[in-house]
């Protein structure tokens, strides 16, 4: 599903995002990505979503070699990869409903089907009653749920999350992570970057530790 072969990313200013990563996630797998600040977690996720391109090595996602993907195909690739960010990246002049509907609108989905899907996504994140409000009126945790609903509304096979609980207190963080576990149970492949090591250790999932742009540790979660 996701595979990195000796991948390096050097930014135009000379900074090394990734120094050489080999990694593979099979379909339906869920893994946490940890590491010090600047270890390359965000860079790794950006390469999967094609927000950046690798400068060395090969990245495979959904059986496609991203190195060979044409620029005009990037939007179609992104429709298959849901992305969630620490800062939510919501449109503050649009309602919660319109924010979540955005991936469906850009894909040209019909009105009725869009409505149905957005409601289903809202239901999953527990925000059914908030569809008409503007994101600014929501708490940080609720805004993050809107971001999550937007990422999953088009049912992408892969979900990426970059420090999704970075701004949340421990209780809300746990709720968000449990939401991700639920998605994983229905077969979504998930890769979640976080530095909240205490929290993720209680989930018994694979943890990939990056250090200076390389995989330092890769421990599979022990089935209890």
């Amino acid at each position: 599903m996701i595979r990195f072969d000796n991948v390096a990313k050097r930014y135009p200013n000379g900074h090394e995002g990734l120094a050489g990563v080999d990694l593979s996630l099979h379909e339906g797998e869920m893994a946490f990505l940890t590491g010090h600040s600047g270890a390359g977690k965000s860079t790794l996720l950006k390469l999967i979503g094609l927000l950046e391109r690798a400068t060395r090595g090969q990245v495979w996602v959904n059986e496609r070699n991203l190195n060979k993907l044409k620029t005009r195909d990037i939007p179609y690739h992104r429709r298959e990869v849901g992305m969630i960010f620490q800062d939510h990246r919501l449109l503050h002049d649009r309602t919660v409903f319109d924010n979540i509907a955005l991936p469906l609108v850009v894909a040209g989905m019909g009105h009725a089907e869009t409505k149905r899907r957005v409601r289903a996504a809202l239901d999953k994140v527990g925000l059914l009653k908030k569809e008409k409000v503007f994101p600014i009126t929501l708490s940080g945790g609720e805004q993050q749920r809107v971001g999550i609903a937007r990422a999953l509304v088009s049912k992408p096979p892969v979900l990426l999350a970059d420090e999704p609980t970075g701004n949340l207190d421990p209780e809300l963080s746990r709720e968000i992570m449990e939401l991700f576990l639920q998605f994983n149970q229905v077969g979504v492949t998930l890769l979640i970057a976080t530095h909240d090591v205490d929290l993720i250790q209680s989930f018994d999932k694979r943890i990939i530790n990056l250090r200076h742009g390389r995989v330092a540790d890769d421990c599979a979660g022990d089935p209890v």
Binding site: D5, K46, D73, Y76, M83, R89
Partner: protein
């Protein structure tokens, strides 16, 4: 394991009905967005309107003036200078003969003594003339041609025929002001064309700049749309429609301006024409320049938006 089967193709929506529907929605929502900032929309449209109205209005005016120089009766007169030997009686006979011609509307004889009196009155050289023993001025027959007679060629032919009379020394067509007017309208035509090109460029820049600002304002939104898989075409579309609508509104304003100006000028022009016994009126509207405005405005709007979009959208990438 490296997957070695061919990469699966992306699904693309190619249903023409949904495509049309999306365009219709997009054009309406762009119009809606413009209507939410009515003042800046109106100002941009007004600037475009004036830029379009100016050359087309001037073009209409030049066209009408040209028309005027072609049809105004009494446009030209022909002066026949008679030979010195011709007596006053002979001169009157010549005048009567010429008055019979079908292309002549009116004739007037200025005999030699009248010519002298007029010259004395107008020139102020009266005393100098007193020194001469005889009147040096020839008799003149003035002809006002039939109004049907049109164009410098027809007058020239008439003058040539009249020149054949033994009594007539010189037949002179007073076409000067008609020719001058023709030269002036041609110069104006050229100037209006250059003005039109310059103003079209200005419209491109105005729309381009408006769209550029709009792209800057919606920078964050564009990033997010790209993030969730919006294609370049999808992102471009609302801006192109905005440019188009600016052009449409500008064209409407231009048409209103031109028609209002024509309407307001028509009264005075008819009074003026009346003074010259002409039934000329400014109502001659050249359909081509109006069509030019109606289509040129939207086209320029679209082109301006296209320029801005091409330059600025690619620079916005999500991080």
């Amino acid at each position: 394991m490296i997957p070695n089967k061919r990469s699966p193709k992306f699904k693309r929506n190619r249903n023409p009905i949904t495509w049309l529907l999306r365009h219709a929605q997009m054009s309406l929502s762009s119009l809606g967005r413009l209507s939410r900032s009515p003042i800046s929309t109106a100002m941009t449209a007004a600037v475009i309107g004036i830029a379009l109205a100016l050359p087309s209005g001037l073009h209409l005016l030049v066209d009408n003036v040209r028309d005027l120089s072609n049809t105004w009766d009494g446009t030209a007169s022909v002066s026949l200078f008679l030979a010195e030997s011709v007596t006053d009686e002979q001169a009157e006979a010549v005048r009567q003969q010429i008055a019979q011609r079908s292309d002549v509307a009116d004739t007037q004889l200025i005999d030699r003594s009248q010519a002298l009196a007029e010259f004395r009155r107008l020139s102020g050289f009266g005393e100098a003339l007193d020194l001469l023993d005889s009147n040096p001025l020839p008799a003149v027959v003035l002809i006002r041609p039939q109004p049907q007679l049109e164009g410098a060629d027809a007058y020239a032919r008439m003058a040539e025929e009249l020149q054949a009379y033994r009594e007539i020394e010189l037949a002179q067509v007073d076409l000067q002001w008609v020719e001058r007017l023709g030269a002036i309208t041609r110069t104006f035509d050229r100037a209006v064309f250059i003005l039109a090109v310059l103003l079209a460029g200005a419209v491109l820049l105005i729309v381009g700049n408006t769209i550029r600002l709009e792209i800057q304002n919606r920078h964050g939104e564009i990033e997010i749309v790209k993030l969730v898989g919006g294609t370049d075409a999808f992102i471009r579309r609302p801006f192109l429609y905005e440019g188009l609508w600016h052009g449409v509104l500008g064209a409407l304003i231009a048409l209103i301006l031109v028609l209002t100006a024509l309407f307001m000028l028509d009264g005075p022009v008819q009074r003026l024409a009346g003074l010259y016994q002409s039934d000329f009126s400014l109502a001659v509207i050249d359909p081509f320049s109006l069509l030019g405005v109606a289509f040129g405005g939207p086209l320029l709007g679209l082109a301006g938006a296209w320029l801005a979009v091409g330059r600025h959208l690619a620079q916005i990438q999500p991080e």
